[in-house]
Amino acid sequence: MLAVDELAVRFGGVTALERVSFQVRPGSITSVIGPNGAGKTTAFNAITGYLRPTGGRVTYDGTSLTGLRPSAIARRGVVRTFQKTSVFPVLTVVDNVLTGLHLRGTAGFFAVLAGRRRLVAEERSLAAEASAIVDFVGLTHRRFEAAGALPYGEQRLVELAVALAARPRVLLLDEPGAGMTGSERIVVSGLIRRIREQGVTVLLVEHDMRMVMGISDTVIVLSGGRVIAEGAPAAIQAHPEVIRAYLGASAGSA
């Protein structure tokens, strides 16, 4: 289980996260929502090692992730995507995914130099795995195209495929539906459900309420760097503090 405990992040005098605690149940789809500037992406960055928290800790299955580098956190099965589209632009779609399979390969420096025969088999199985993942996200028709040349929505799918290639046990998705058309969002929602069915825990930041309410088991609401509500989608939608945070104090008092 991924547990965030009293996580705090301050940038100089600005408090981005103020003692945020929550837990992500294994096998669940948990969403983090909140108005702009609530600290959602900051929380992601602090959990995955891109930002060193000023206080608190993050543990996964009892081991601490705090202070580890992103690559070490990925090795422990906690893998993220980025809010801004992030692919290897000059590589083809399938090579993006093959690169994402880094942790699945075993070849070390000397084995590579010696040109061991077993590496040929490994490369072949990685290539097969890469094309299976490309098929899974539905980019088979694009597999030999440079990722950077694809339309925005498809680049986001490449990003998802690259993250999946790292074989996450917890997958953190930072606004996977941003900039997508409605139908693309439905596809992504479907993919997220199928990823969860494969036993991967999903934690996502998302603005699209229809998507959040449709796929989440649990919704966590951040506002002003604090958790103001946590619960099932239906409960969250009716939560007075959430309504106030989203619609402003005047709407709450009206």
Binding site: Y50, R69, P70, S71, V79, G100, L101, V112, L113
Partner: protein, 321 residues
């Protein structure tokens, strides 16, 4: 077709001394080979990790001095001296890699320049060891069992073997998950880390292999010219390597070799054709033209032209639907 071309090139390289008219031409071929090794070495860093080392002559010089000193002062034979020269350059690469790790881009460039400056100063000022600016004459020619590799033709084959070995090392690295990790760091470091690529490990690895390979070039140079002086650290050597890599095509396997052959042969050809004022001018014009016309280098452009023809043929049947 590309494979056939590769074999043809290999045969041409193996028989080259028999086609060349004079020892001078063999000399040019040897220098092209040594620079080929150096350019491939620089390409590992510049082309694959995206980090520009402007102190690469330092690793070249360390290899040259180590090999010369071991054979001259300790009277080692060539082969162990070569191995130690490569190892020492690799160790220097390790420290530069560690040191420069937090400093990417412009800072990495500065660290490597300074490193070359420091090493160069040592070679000038540690007179008891290096003989200072006078340099070390009389570096022995290598021997292979009963044969001396004193002749240019024999040395050509030694260099050719080194080129082949370096090429093989680069090729195996680049076409493995290690090469993919390096390219991932070049293309998008944050994303690379998110999928578990250890930045420290791979950048240092690339720096070590690159430096060791430059050390190999340095040792070969020392035992070929039979003389080593602080000139081996000249910035010009580094610049030449960069030109070769960029013109040939950085981040490609064949690019540095193409660049090395071109930019070793070009000044020599110009020397025969024109007075020296015109030589530099013509060299400059060729360089500017290359940068303008083939900004990504000769090899990528060539690859595109070939691939363009292929994909045109592949698209044609599909277009019928």
């Amino acid at each position: 077709m590309i494979r056939a071309g590769g074999w043809l090139l290999a045969v041409a390289a193996l028989t080259l001394p028999f086609w060349l008219q004079s020892p001078y031409h063999v000399h040019v071929a040897i220098m092209a080979g040594i620079f080929g090794v150096l350019a491939m070495s620089l390409n590992l860093l510049l082309g694959y990790t995206g980090q520009l080392s402007l102190g690469h002559a330092a690793f070249f010089g360390i290899g040259a001095y180590a090999s010369a000193l071991l054979t001259l002062k300790l009277e080692w034979s060539f082969w162990p001296a070569l191995a130690v020269a490569v190892a020492l350059a690799g160790i220097a690469g390790f420290f530069i890699g560690r040191l420069a790790l937090k400093l990417r881009g412009a800072y990495f460039v500065l660290v490597t320049i300074s490193f070359a400056g420091v090493i160069s100063l040592i070679s000038v000022n540690w007179i008891e060891l290096t003989n200072g600016p006078l340099g070390l004459p009389g570096v022995p020619a290598p021997e292979l069992g009963p044969w001396s590799l004193r002749t240019k033709t024999a040395y050509y084959y030694l260099v050719l073997a080194a080129v082949a070995l370096s090429y093989l090392v680069c090729r195996r690295l680049v076409r493995s998950r290690i090469g993919r990790a390096l390219v991932a760091l070049r293309e998008n470091e944050a994303l690379a880390e998110s999928i578990g690529v250890d930045v420290t490990h791979y950048l240092v690895l690339a720096a070590v292999v690159s430096a060791a390979m430059a050390g190999l070039g340095g040792s070969l140079y020392a035992h070929y010219t039979r003389f080593v002086s602080p000139e081996v650290f000249l910035f010009t050597y580094t610049v030449t390597m960069v030109i070769m890599v960029v013109a040939g095509g950085k981040g490609t396997l064949a690019g540095p070799l193409v660049g090395a052959v071109l930019f070793t042969a070009l000044p020599e050809a110009l020397r025969a054709a024109a007075s020296w004022q015109w030589q530099m001018l013509a060299y400059g014009v060729v360089l500017v033209l290359l940068v303008f016309l083939l900004p990504r280098g000769i090899v990528p452009r060539l690859g595109e032209t070939l691939a363009g023809r292929h994909s045109a043929a592949a698209v044609a049947p599909a277009a019928r639907h």
